[in-house]
């Protein structure tokens, strides 16, 4: 029964056998044709079909209808608009991806635009400032400017001086710790706007060991904190505050030789 049905299907396929090889649709058809290739009946059918197809191709196209083929805009191109193009999912996805990549580049570019030697350390220290609690520091009741002696005598830290602009502020506490690169950092907490000061070694040239200096004050920002950094005698000082540049500007504009 199965055999009869298979033969019937093969017969059906042969009756629909393509005229040109380019219409050889599927495996079943190819298999049916290959089995019948030698039969006279199938050869006659193929010759018959080819002759009819040749005759069909001779059907002339009236000039009036042929105009449709020669006209460049036979079917007016769907109007190309930005709106339509932007709605295309591929274009949309690509645009978003490009925008994100561009955004990341711009963000990186802008955030590193004001980079200076030591800015990476300064940012890390702003992170520490954000998470610091007063109990982590040794209580000290003195002016910030006087702590450089303490740092020198107790910890052997030379030139860990608080600049004159911040020297008068009353200190709540201070400590000295090492960061992950074993650099010794001094942290001072003052009562003025709960600012924190950091003193850390300035960055050095990896080949020559020379201090990489930079003039004046530079700003760094991290997680809502802003730091104003300056370098003096191979030591960087950073005043960190929760806020923006302008919160520090008034302090920095004070004359340094007070």
């Amino acid at each position: 029964m199965k055999l009869v049905s298979a033969m019937r299907r093969q017969r059906s396929l042969l009756n629909c056998a393509p005229i040109s090889a380019r219409q050889l649709a599927d495996r079943a058809m190819r298999s049916a044709i290959s089995r019948a290739d030698d039969s006279v009946e199938f050869t006659d059918q193929q010759n018959f079909d080819s002759a009819v197809a040749r005759l069909v191709r001779l059907i002339p196209i009236p000039a009036e209808s042929a105009e449709w083929f020669s006209e460049k805009d036979l079917v007016p191109a769907s109007r190309w608009t930005w709106k339509k193009m932007l709605r295309n999912p591929a274009v949309l996805a690509t645009s978003i991806a490009v925008a994100v990549i561009a955004g990341v580049f711009v963000f990186n570019f802008v955030s590193h635009l004001n980079d200076f030697p030591g800015s990476a350390t300064a940012r890390k220290l702003l992170g520490i400032a954000a998470s610091a609690r007063p109990v982590m520091l040794d209580p000290v009741n003195a002016e910030a400017g006087t702590l450089s002696d303490l740092f020198f005598m107790k910890h052997g830290l030379e030139h860990y001086d608080v600049p004159a602009q911040f020297a008068d502020f009353a200190t709540i506490g201070c400590r000295v710790f090492e960061d992950e690169e074993s650099r010794r950092i001094a942290q001072i907490w003052v009562s003025e706007k709960r600012m924190q000061f950091f003193l850390f070694p300035a960055e050095r040239d990896s080949k020559t060991g020379a201090v990489l200096r930079f003039p004046g004050w530079r700003y760094v920002r991290q997680e809502g904190w802003t730091g104003a950094v300056t370098e003096h005698s191979g030591v960087c000082f950073m005043a960190a505050i929760r806020g923006r540049d302008k919160d520090l500007e008034s302090y920095l504009s004070k004359p340094a030789d007070k």
Partner: protein, 170 residues
Amino acid sequence: MREVFRGPSGVPERKQNLPQLYRFCFLMLGDSRKAQDVFHATLREAAQRAARGELPTESFWLFRDARWRCLEATKSDLQPEPLEMDEHEVAAQAPSQIGRLDPMHLAIWISAAPDPQRSALALFYLDEFDYREILDLAELKLNELSRFLSNGRRQLQAWLDAKFPQTADV
């Protein structure tokens, strides 16, 4: 009609295979004037839909559209009476007989066939589609298409034999 329109984007590729669309109309109707009317109406509609950005995404929709227009155009015409047509086995000399035919004669013969045999023959002899595409376009099953084509060949052979009788060898 995969070559006339590029696909879902609906951007027309123009020109390609429109001659085949015209030939299809001609085979379906057997009349050049009617074929042109249907052909132009189909393309005009396509142009309007393209302008509105509403081109169908399915394949061969132009042929499908043209087929329905052809059927519609002949609905009011006199329909061929169902009668037993002579059938002859396809002969080896058929190609030479067909070679003596005018395309117009063939179109008249095909257009006189009842549908869906007419659609099946017209689509098949365009040599544009594979059998699965014809099944889809003419909404037929394989055994139906097979029967229509097989009968069509034998009927055409009988007609050819009647039109160009074989002269006996002397």
